[in-house]
Structure formats: C-alpha cells, structure tokens
C-alpha cells in the first residue's frame, strides 16, 4: 500500500479509535483470548470438536441479569460414553467463567439448565469433556438489551 495522504489519515484515525476502545474494555471485561485460554486449561490442550453438544440460549435477552441457558450432550451416560463435565463461559463478562457441571452414571442424561448473567452482547460457550478424553464445543451469540432501549 502506498503511503498517500488519505491512507495515512485513515490509518491514524483507526489506530486511535482502536486504542481508546482497547483501553476502555481491557480492565473491566474478559476477552475472547482469555476465554480461549480458559478452554484450553479445561481441555488440557485438546482442541474441541463440533457436534454432540448443544447449547440453547435466547438470541436476544432483554434482561441480562437472568438469561436461561440449557446445555445437553448426546450420550448414553454408561461405560465409556459418559460426559464427565461441562463448562460454561461468557466471553464478554468481567470474568469469563460461568459454571462447571459434573455428571455421573446416576445422571441418566447429560443435561443442565440454569440462569446466567450477561454484562453485554457476547458469545456464550459450552465445552463438554467426555470420559474417553474427547472434547466438544458449542457457541451461541446472545444479544443483550441494556436499559430497555429495545435494540
């Protein structure tokens, strides 16, 4: 790219906007990278696959204080086909961790429903760890309406 006057102006404005946004967000909210890191800590470095796990969350949450979420994993819950634990993250909250569910053979099915807090529009991520070591992930974006402005 040639350094024309127009390009230089555009770049500077972009960089400035980015710096301001970055400075405002970093101290208060967790980032996607931090969530990524927490997922890796949970899986022990294994990259999660898609499928098997289903995260159900509303597309638009009017009240970020109680957002119902359900997570299920296809599993017979016996022998090696067992879900050991499911972890939930919200990548735009001040702290990405939301909850960790643990199951046993008495659970019958790998299903959990609870209500969570979301600070702003963001992704909710669910990661399931199976007994045989495989990991599965699902992600949903939830739009959070703040202050009832109907957006």
């Amino acid at each position: 790219m040639k350094l024309t006057r127009r390009n230089v102006l555009g770049l500077t404005a972009g960089a400035a906007a980015f710096a301001v946004a970055g400075a405002r967000i970093t101290p208060a909210f967790a980032s996607a990278e931090e969530t990524e890191k927490s997922i890796m800590d949970f899986t022990g470095g294994a990259a999660p696959a898609e499928g098997k796990i289903t995260l159900t969350a509303p597309e638009i949450a009017e009240n970020g204080n109680t957002v119902p979420v359900t997570v299920t994993v296809e599993s017979t819950m016996s022998g090696d086909d067992m879900v050991e634990s499911i972890i939930l993250f919200a990548d735009g909250n001040p702290n990405p961790a939301v909850a960790t569910f643990r199951f046993s053979e008495l659970s019958g099915a790998a299903l959990a429903t609870t209500r969570i807090r979301l600070a702003k529009t963001q992704n909710v991520v669910a990661v399931a760890k199976m007994k045989d070591g495989s990991v599965f992930m699902d992600k949903k974006q939830v739009k959070v309406t703040i202050g009832g402005c109907g957006g």
Binding site: T66, A90, N95, A97, R102, S104, S107, T113
Partner: protein, 107 residues
C-alpha cells in the same frame, strides 16, 4: 441468609426412567463487581457449589461463578436404580450450607 430451598422431584418413577429434577434457592449472589453508593466495592458473596446426591452417590454437581443469576436455578436429570432419598446441598462463600432432601419410590 438464604431461605428454604425449593425442589421438585417426582414422587415415583419406573425402574430405569430418566427423571427431571428442578431446584431453586433464594440467594442474592452478590457478584463482587458492584459498588455501593459511596463507590466502595461490595464484597463477593455467592453460593459457590451445588451438589445432588442419591444415597451417598453423586448425581449432579455444579461449581458456580458470580455469573450465575441471583436465586440460582438448576434443572437436570437423574436415573436411579431403587427407591431412596435425594439430598441437595448449596455451599455459601461464608461457609454456610443449605440443605434439602426428597424421597423417591421406584416401582
């Protein structure tokens, strides 16, 4: 102080049936993120763990973080081999434990 937890467990089930359990406990789940009107942070006070056991065996457990809403609600499944009692426990940050139990008859 949390009030008496509410639990919903079917009275009976057939052998091998997967049943649904629901629990709700009143608790403010103070996240530790909020500030009072003088600008001082309000200390965190949440329920940090919930467990459900059947005759001493773990059925379902959850570690809670401050992102769980006030009055934590859980819905989960269980498959029990025989008649017995479900025990539920909620562990508070301040060390208190809130407990509840419910019997079930397996035909």
């Amino acid at each position: 102080m949390a009030s008496k937890p509410r639990i919903k467990v079917p009275k009976s089930a057939s052998a091998g049936e997967v049943i649904t359990l629901k629990t709700l406990i009143s608790h403010e789940m103070e996240s530790g993120q909020r500030k009072d009107k003088d600008g001082n942070p309000i200390p965190r006070k949440i329920i940090n763990k919930f467990t459900c056991t059947f005759e001493g065996q773990m059925v379902f457990e959850c570690d809670l973080d401050p992102a769980i809403s006030a009055n934590p609600y859980f819905e989960f499944n269980a498959k029990v081999p025989s008649s017995g009692t479900f025990k539920f426990a909620w562990l508070d940050d301040d060390g208190s434990v809130y407990e509840a139990e419910a019997p079930i008859e397996v035909k």
